[in-house]
Structure formats: structure tokens, C-alpha cells
């Protein structure tokens, strides 16, 4: 890379390009003199690269802006091109709804204004464009309020610019900026408060926040900006290098910035039905998602004491680095720890990363990315960061009973993976007390599930050794994991006839019998004599045993003998029996059970509906609140079904993209052929219709081939569309079955709605009245007022006197409702497609209000 590029890239960093200097002014001067030399012959390269740097290293924007300001003094034309280029890019970003790009380019424009490259009035015009689009969107008559997410985003963009140039704007165009602020305030008064319902990390927040004065993201940002304004627009987190060059910069020519336009929102009649409004709102929120939800897990005494606006700016920096340096480990960690701010921010950094890892409905990247970032930061800041991470884990563990179910699952996966990268070292003795809690206490379940995942990533003895400082926790380790073969010949168990059958089958497999041979053996000598149940048991157990050695052994046996299984289990009833056999065989190894079920679904030996039925069998329902096993299987099933759909959608869209060019090619070839055929040529002195035969036949061939190609694409498109239609039907059936099952089990177990209409009421139903029997829902006394208040205050947390104070049945309901919400939220986009049917078949009037609430919450649907 040429040296000016390195200088641009590394500006502001501690790097060898800039020697020992860490002064921004030095960096800018060094970089500027290098660029000035190159400008004449590599103007285009510089422009392109500079724009890339701006868009991907937004925390350095003030430095780049000042550089452009200095270049403006030398070469006005270059600066003009920077402005024009930025305008084009911004317009593209607005048109395509590229949120990060819009926000960052607006910030760049602000900084260009500070460096006198851009006229301040032009920036105000851009603000006003966004403002007026936002105001129109939320207008009931002229706009479409279901797209408020987009409007809120535009306003966020305006406010986000102010830390970078508020001071300059107020100085240069005080009246105009005041007008913008008044406009924002007016907007805030007509928009609706954006509720976090269904997306908050902690369950109690969902209830507490409702209607109370809690600020949403935009309201919060607005108050931070007002705070900044009251503080004379001074803040620590934004470097202002242009001030060092002010004397020079004032003489630069300020360029104009052409108008930008916001894409028009689909105008819709004000009579949007509830469902359509919900669907559109969901779509808008997907396209313009809220970037961050603050986690606030550290006590104020621990976290850095920052000004509200500084906290916002550092979050912006961190989120941008996380976004742009996904996949570049070294740079990501280096930029995260080297932000251009004069204060420490480890706690804020940890909180921000955890808030992304746990972000609902989903984080911008796979959760594993954040695992990697945390690992790298622990290595980059070995003295500071590991302790902060441990503090975050402790804080989350304390509140785990209120943590959203989806977040709990992510936390378990993250924590086990994190520990596996640090030799499984953790002060487990701190948590040894969970053994004294009932088996459904969320803290205990959390420890148990973390240990389970650790064992999967490592091995049993190793994990056992890692909890040596709290030896009691060994009790929470999963069983040691061997198979549980019904027809094992190892022990002293009596050998039955079934043992003999199993041995026969095993020998046939060893003797490489084909699936057909085994089927006829079964049809002739097993099924007629022993009946279905024995046949199914013997065949399944034996196959599972042969495939038990590894994942690959399992696949091999399923590929070879899947037909046999399909023959025995052609319908849902038998498939449920089949899954039960898998559960029996792998009762000591949840991972293998889950994998076997997953593969069988992959080979279409079992349907997703059969799996749902099995998950809701009595044996599994019992574990809903004490184990992740049934949920893991259910998650796999739904995600596999969903993956099939999304794969097909991708294939269809790529085929559709291919169809136009092939069509054109076919038409063109045909036209050429016809033109050639129409020509008159002389053959043997006689005029004949058609060009010379060689060329003609070549053209004919080409036209045929092009046509064939077009037809073949159309055919595969049709085939894929048919497959998609089938997959969508399957998905609809799956979700209906899932919700019906949820509704049934919950209705059976939830206390009457008059006593438990809200989650906190459910939590405060007396603990001990329940622990006796899961099946008995009656005979529960209503608490007296006093007790209830006491309990709802502790909200399910640990209390010193009586361990965990939520009863088994209530916990069962809480956990299950938590999963209802989690599934609804994760697949909301699909579920909205079937919402009408769901309303008719499941969410009927007499459905329990807590169940309805969980579904609505997950879908972010408003309850009328």
C-alpha cells in the first residue's frame, strides 16, 4: 500500500507511520503534506480512499474533515468533489435505507461544515429535509404512522450530528438551528412513545415501563442533547482538531450542497386495520432497527462517571467499530481499546458489547462474534477487562430470574464458550449456594446448563475438575453420557427374545445387508410375530447403537437404513414413538439425542409436527422449567424448518435475477435467426430465401440453445416455487401446532386469570402451595396484600432466608411463557403471515390473558 494510504488509514492511531507522536495536530500535518504531494497525479485514488476511510472509520471523521478543510485551501476543486461525492452517496443510502451510511455521512457533512468546506446553511437544509419527511410520516392524515421507526431514525440522525458540530452551528446559524430544534420538539410531541415491549432484557421492565415515564431511545437522546446544549455544547468525547487550524481554515471556500430527498413512504389510508398496521410496523422496525438498547447492569459506583452525551458518543464509536470490523479481529480489538477519548471506558465497553450480544430480537451479527470480541479484549487489556467481564456475568447472574429467556440461552452459550477459551477457570465457589435452591430456580438451571455446554465443548472429567473449588456442583453436571441401549449384552440382564432379534439385525448390518433385505426380514420374521412396538424398539435401538460411536456413524447408518425406519414409521403416531426411542437411548447424552432427532428430520424420517408432539409429551413438559433439553430440540426443529424456507427464497431470488438476461439472450438469438432467414441470397445463380446454410444452421442452433436455457430456468423456478409453497404450508402447520400446544399446557397450569392477570401477580402466588404437585392447580390461597408487596419487590431474586421464593408451578408457567415470547419474537416475520389464522384458531377470546400477552409481546403487537 502506498504511504499516503497508510497515513490516511492510521491517522490518529498509535502507529509507526506517525512515529512517536500522538498529537492529532501533528498527524494531520504529516498526512496533509503527504496528500498534497500526491494530489496532482492521484486525485481520484485519494478521493475514493478518503471516502472509504470516512465510511468505515467513523470515529476518525473529525480528523478526515480537517484534512479536507486543509486541502480545500490548496485545491478547491478537490474539496468540491468530496462534497458532491458525499451527496451522491447519501442520496443512495437514503434510497436504499442503509442506516449506518446515512448516519455516518451526515456526521461527515457536519464535520465538513466545521472545517469550512460546507456552508452551514446547506447542512441545516439537509436537517430540515429529514425533519419534514419524519413529520409527514407520523402524520395520521398525510403519512403512515406505522412507519414511525423510519421517522425516528431520521430524527436520531439529526440529533446525532450535534455533538460533532452543535457549537459551530449555534455560532454560525443560530436562528436556523433553533428552528430545527423547535421542529424536533414538535415532532417529539406528535409521535407515539416507542415502547420496548417484548424487546427488553428484563421481564419486569416490560411491565414496569408500561405507561410510566420511562424514556424511549429518541426521548433519551433528546434529553442528552438538551443537556449538551445547556452545557455550551462542550463535551470530552469528540476531538475538535479543526480548532488548531482555525486561522487557516476560515479562508477556505465553503461549498454548496445540493438538495437531498427522502424516499416517500407508502401512503396508506388512515383506516389501517389493526393487523395491517401491525404488519407494516413490524416491517418498518426490521428495516430501521433501533441500534442499541442499554443494559445498565453495573452499579453507578462502579461504572465510569460520564456526561450523558459522552456516553452516547462512545456507544456510537463502539457500535461502529463492531459493525465495520466484523471479521477483522486484530483491528477490531485495537480500535475498541483505542478510541479518541480522554477517559477510561471499560465498563461502558463491556455493557455495550453485552447489550449487543443480548439484543432482541437479534444482534446485528451472530452471537459468536461477540464472544470473539470479548476474548480479544480480555487479551488486549489483560489487567482491566477480564475483571469487568466477570463483573458483568455476576450482575447478570443476580438478575437471571428476570432475564428474558432468549437472552438466558445466549448467555449460557456465550459463557460456556468464553470459559472454554480460558481454561474453564471460574470462581464457582461463589455460586455453590445454588445447590440449596430448588431445582427450578433460574440461577441453578443456569449453572447446570453452562456446565452441560462446557462438557460438550470439552469432556466430563475436565469440567468436573474445573469445579473442584465447589465440589458440590458436581451434582449439576450432566450424566457421563454413554448410551442406554435396551438390548445391551454387557450386563447381567436376562437376554430376551428381543435381544436375539437385535443381535440378528446387528449381524445383518455387519454382513452389509441392504435396506431392502432388512425390510423383508422384518416383514417376514419380526413384525408378524412380535407386533409393531417390539419391531420399532428393536430396529431403532439397534440402529442407534450401531450409529452411536460418532456423528458420522449416525449419519452413515441413517443414510444406509433410513428406508427401513421410514417403512416402520410412516405416520406421526409412530414417529412420536420413534423419537421416544431416541430419547431413551440417549437419555444420558442430551447432545446426541438432539443431533439424532435433528438428522432424522433432515432425512425426513420424522416430521416437525411429530417432534412438536414429542416435545409436548408429559415427560418433557415436566422439564420445561428445569432443563434446556426439550427447548433445544424445539429450537432446532423450528430453525430447520425456517432454514428450508429461507434457502428456497434465496434460490428463487437468484433464479429470478437470472431469468431476465437469459430471456434477452433468447430473444436476441431468435431475432438474429429470423433476420438471417428473411434475407435473400443467390444460390447457383438463383435467389433463395435465407442466408448461407452454414451460418443459418449455426444461428438456428444458438437460438434453440438460448431458448432451452430460458425454459430450463423457468422450469427450475417453477419447481422451487412449488417447493416453497409446500415449505410455507409446513411452516404454517408447525406454528399452529406449536401455539395450540403452548395454549393447552398453559391453560391447564396457569392459575385463573382473576388471580394471575399479570406476571408479577403470578410470581407472588404463594410459593409453597405449589411445590407439592405440578398437576394440582386448585387450592391456592390468595396472599394478603402485605405479603404480596413484599414478594413482588424481591421479584424472584434470591433472598437470604428462604432461598428461591417462587413455587414450582409458577416457575413452570414463567419459563414456558418466556419461551412463548421468545419463539414468537424470533419468528415474528413468519408468524405475521399467518396471523389471521392464528387469531381464529388459537388466540380466541377465552385464551388465558398471560398467554395472549406473551404472544403479543413477542410479535410486538398492540393489545387493544
Amino acid at each position: 500500500m502506498s504511504s499516503w494510504k497508510n497515513l490516511l488509514l492510521r491517522i490518529g492511531d498509535k502507529s509507526h507511520e506517525y512515529g512517536t507522536s500522538t498529537d492529532f495536530k501533528d498527524h494531520i500535518e504529516t498526512c496533509f503534506s503527504a496528500l498534497r504531494r500526491e494530489l496532482e497525479h492521484s486525485e481520484k485514488d485519494i478521493l475514493d480512499f478518503l471516502v472509504q476511510c470516512v465510511e468505515q472509520l467513523p470515529h476518525k471523521i473529525p480528523l478526515y474533515g480537517t484534512l479536507v478543510g486543509l486541502m480545500n485551501l490548496e485545491n478547491e476543486d478537490f474539496a468540491r468533489k468530496v462534497v458532491e461525492n458525499t451527496q451522491t452517496n447519501l442520496q443512495d443510502a437514503l434510497d436504499s435505507g442503509n442506516c449506518n451510511r446515512i448516519r455516518i455521512l451526515m456526521r461527515f457533512l457536519t464535520v465538513l461544515m466545521c472545517s469550512k468546506v460546507l456552508q452551514s446553511s446547506c447542512l441545516v437544509v439537509a436537517f430540515e429535509t429529514l425533519l419534514s419527511s419524519a413529520a409527514t410520516t407520523v402524520d395520521e392524515e398525510k403519512g403512515n404512522p406505522s412507519w414511525q421507526a423510519c421517522a425516528d431514525f431520521y430524527i436520531t440522525c439529526i440529533l446525532s450530528c450535534l455533538p460533532w458540530g452543535g457549537a459551530e452551528l449555534v455560532e454560525q446559524v443560530p436562528e436556523e438551528i433553533e428552528r430545527v430544534m423547535v421542529g424536533v420538539e414538535a415532532y417529539l410531541s406528535i409521535r407515539r412513545h416507542a415502547s420496548d415491549r417484548g424487546l427488553s432484557f428484563f421481564e419486569d421492565d416490560d411491565e414496569a415501563k408500561n405507561g410510566l415515564g420511562e424514556k424511549d431511545f429518541l426521548e433519551d437522546l433528546w434529553s442528552r442533547i438538551q443537556d449538551l446544549s445547556n452545557n455550551g455544547w462542550k463535551l470530552d468525547s469528540v476531538p475538535r482538531p479543526h480548532l488548531s487550524f482555525e486561522a487557516q481554515l476560515v479562508s477556505g471556500k465553503s461549498h454548496e450542497f445540493g438538495p437531498i430527498s427522502c424516499p416517500e413512504q407508502l401512503h396508506s389510508p388512515s383506516t389501517l386495520s389493526g393487523i395491517t398496521h401491525g404488519k407494516q410496523k413490524h416491517e418498518a422496525e426490521l428495516k430501521y432497527p433501533q441500534r442499541i438498547r442499554r443494559l445498565n447492569i453495573f452499579p453507578a459506583s462502579k461504572a465510569e462517571d460520564l456526561q450523558p452525551i459522552d456516553r452516547f458518543v462512545v456507544e456510537e464509536y463502539l457500535l461502529d467499530v463492531l459493525f465495520f470490523f466484523n471479521g477483522c479481529r486484530k483491528e477490531c480489538a485495537a480500535f475498541m481499546v483505542g478510541l479518541p477519548v480522554p477517559f477510561r471506558y471499560e465498563y461502558l465497553m463491556a455493557e455495550t458489547i453485552f447489550s449487543q450480544l443480548l439484543l432482541l430480537p437479534q444482534p446485528p451479527f451472530r452471537p459468536m462474534y461477540y464472544t470473539l470480541v470479548i476474548i480479544d479484549l480480555c487479551k488486549a487489556l489483560p489487567g482491566a477487562f477480564p475483571a469487568v467481564v466477570a463483573g458483568a456475568v455476576r450482575a447478570l447472574f443476580e438478575k437471571i430470574a428476570d432475564l428474558d429467556m432468549e437472552c438466558r440461552t445466549r448467555l449460557i452459550l456465550w459463557f460456556s464458550h468464553h470459559l472454554s477459551n480460558f481454561q474453564f477457570i471460574w470462581p464457582w465457589e461463589e455460586w455453590a449456594y445454588v445447590l440449596d435452591l430448588p431445582k427450578w430456580a433460574p440461577q441453578r438451571v443456569f449453572v447446570q446448563e453452562v456446565l452441560e455446554r462446557e462438557v460438550r465443548l470439552s469432556y466430563w472429567d475436565k469440567v468436573k475438575q474445573s469445579v473442584e473449588n465447589a465440589p458440590g456442583l458436581e451434582e449439576l453436571l450432566p450424566p457421563k453420557g454413554g448410551p442406554n441401549f435396551r438390548f445391551s449384552v454387557d450386563g447381567d440382564t436376562e437376554r430376551t427374545e428381543q435381544h436375539a432379534l437385535s443381535a440378528d439385525l446387528s449381524n445383518m448390518v455387519k454382513g452389509r445387508a441392504t435396506a431392502r433385505e432388512i425390510i423383508s426380514w422384518i416383514e417376514e420374521s419380526v413384525f408378524p410375530l412380535h407386533g409393531l412396538e417390539v419391531t420399532l424398539k428393536v430396529v431403532l435401538q439397534t440402529f442407534l447403537d450401531i450409529g452411536s460411536k460418532s456423528f458420522t456413524h449416525l449419519i452413515t447408518v441413517l443414510e444406509r437404513y433410513g428406508q427401513v425406519i421410514a417403512k416402520i414409521c410412516p405416520d406421526q403416531d409412530k414417529q412420536v414413538m420413534l423419537i421416544a426411542e431416541v430419547g431413551y437411548y440417549w437419555k444420558n447424552n442430551a447432545q446426541m439425542a438432539a443431533i439424532a432427532i435433528d438428522r432424522m428430520m433432515g432425512y425426513r424420517l420424522i416430521s416437525n409436527l411429530a417432534i412438536v408432539r414429542w416435545v409436548f409429551s408429559a415427560e418433557n413438559i415436566e422439564q420445561f422449567h428445569t432443563s434446556d433439553h426439550p427447548w433445544e430440540v424445539l429450537r432446532n426443529t423450528v430453525s430447520k424448518t425456517y432454514n428450508r424456507i429461507s434457502d428456497l427464497r434465496k434460490e428463487i431470488s437468484s433464479l429470478q435475477n437470472g431469468i431476465v438476461p437469459t430471456e434477452e439472450a433468447a430473444t436476441k438469438a431468435k431475432a438474429e435467426l429470423e433476420a438471417a432467414e428473411a434475407k435473400l441470397t443467390l444460390v447457383d445463380g438463383e435467389p433463395v430465401l435465407g442466408e448461407n446454410p452454414v451460418k443459418l444452421s449455426r444461428l438456428k442452433l444458438r437460438a434453440e440453445k438460448a431458448k432451452e436455457e430460458e425454459v430450463s430456468i423457468r422450469e427450475s423456478l417453477e419447481a422451487k416455487e412449488a417447493l416453497l409453497a409446500r415449505a410455507l404450508d409446513e411452516n404454517e402447520a408447525l406454528f399452529l401446532a406449536l401455539y395450540k400446544n403452548f395454549s393447552n399446557v398453559l391453560t391447564e397450569r396457569l392459575p385463573d386469570a382473576s388471580r394471575a392477570g399479570t406476571l408479577s401477580e403470578l410470581k407472588s402466588v404463594r410459593a409453597d402451595s405449589m411445590s407439592v404437585d405440578l398437576e394440582e392447580s386448585s387450592a391456592m390461597e390468595v396472599d394478603n396484600e402485605n405479603e404480596r408487596q413484599q414478594k413482588s419487590q424481591s421479584n424472584g431474586g434470591r433472598t437470604s432466608s428462604d432461598g428461591y421464593n417462587i413455587g414450582e408451578k409458577e416457575q413452570w408457567c414463567l419459563s414456558t411463557l418466556g419461551y412463548v415470547k421468545a419463539f414468537s419474537r424470533q419468528y415474528a416475520s413468519e408468524i405475521w403471515l399467518y396471523i389471521e389464522k392464528l387469531d381464529v384458531e388459537v388466540l380466541t377470546e377465552n385464551v388465558h390473558p398471560l398467554f395472549r400477552k406473551a404472544v403479543y409481546c413477542g410479535l410486538r403487537r398492540t393489545i387493544n
Binding site: 472509504q52 466484523n326 477483522c328 451472530r366 481454561q423 435396506a515 452413515t556 444406509r560 428456497l648
Partner: protein
Amino acid sequence: MASLFKDPSKLSAYRDRRFLGSQEDFEHALQTSITVYVGNMSFYTTEEQVYELFSRAGEIKKIIMGLDKNTKTPCGFCFVLYYSRDDAEDAVKYISGTILDDRPIRVDFDWGFQEGRQWGRGRSGGQVRDEYRTDYDPARGGYGKLVQRELEAQRQLVDYGGGSLGSFPPVMPPQYGRHGRSHGHGGSYRRDYQRKRHRDDDGHGHETSKRTSDHESRRISDHDSRPEKNPRFRESGDSDDDEEDDRKQRS
């Protein structure tokens, strides 16, 4: 992803000598591949451990353990096949360089599994890197094969008597039992890789090759004859940038 620091077209610094085709073909294969190569694994890491870790990047289609061509036991590498390219990319991005079974593993795009590639290419049956290593790496069979042969020769000269190869560790590592776990791979399986398979047509009942054999007895005895029985210890001194010799450096 940022394009500033990473050349997105440069997918792997390695060029497999066994790849028949031009450099462009090779690059195209890497760019579209749904297979990743995993290197620097412990010989004792199981498919299930790989599954747990790699399924966090996406749904896994297959895992193929790399095996020593003589002993048919794992020799420290594997291939993981995904259903989708995005998932394979995430595996490379997020898993490479992290720890599996106490070792920093390497994850790279692979040009696609073909029958035969599961075997180690070293003279002694394992990976080439395990021929020439001079360090003592108990999770990969102790010393490198060459050193082991030298040690053996010396021992025969002085006649120290029996004792298995490579069991000359500088320090005896603590042994944490891992009973009933270290069997598990090996054997030869029929794998139908050429056929592109989709999630929804994992059809069953393919004809299987005649090579699916009684690998179990062999595997167990193989294991018993291995130099290092249970070499678990906390820190492996292995570094991440160890040469993977199967894949020759391009330049």
C-alpha cells in the same frame, strides 16, 4: 465487513498441491465453498466437540475427521461441511484462532472434500507437520515422528529396553481420565460428497460402498497401541501460526 484492512479476494494463503486445476479454479472453489478445513486439533478431539462448536456458526451437514492412513485414528484435522456459504464464512471469521479442547485451532476455507482427502499425507500416516516437529505435543502423539524414530534408534543402541515411542515427555503431564471417550472415529465411511445436497432432500437409502467394515475392533486395538494414551494437560505450547503442511504456502 471493512474492506480497508482485509483483501476480501485473498481467501487463503495456502494452495493445496493436490488441487487439479488453475489458480483461478482454486480461488473460485474457495470463494464458493461451503467446506472449511480445521487444523491444529488435538488427536483426542471428538466429532461431537467439533459439532458443538461449529454448529454455533450454522447448521452442519457433515464432519469428516482426518485420519492417520495407517492407524485409521484421528490425526489432528477435519473438514466441516455446512449447508450455506454464509455459515461457512462465519465459521472462518469467528472460530479460527479460538480454542477447542485447549488448543488454538485454525479454520480456513477448503476447496471441497473429496474421497481420499481424509487421510494424513505424512510418511508415517499422519499429517506432514507431525513428521518434522521437534516439540513435545502430547495432544498430537508426543514428539514428531522423525524425532520419535531418532529416539527409538538411540534407545536400541543403548538398549534401554522396551517402552513405547514418544513416551519420553520432558515432564509428565497430569493425566485426567477420559474414559470411554477416546474411541470414536476411524473406520472408513462411505460419503457421498459430490452430490450437492440440500437441507430438504437429505434423501436416504443410498447404496453404500462395501468398505463400511468392522472398524470397531480395529479402532480399539489401534488406540491401545498409541504412544500417548491420555495426554491431557492444561497448556499446549502450540502456536497458532504453525505450518499446516498439507496445504503448502503459496509463495
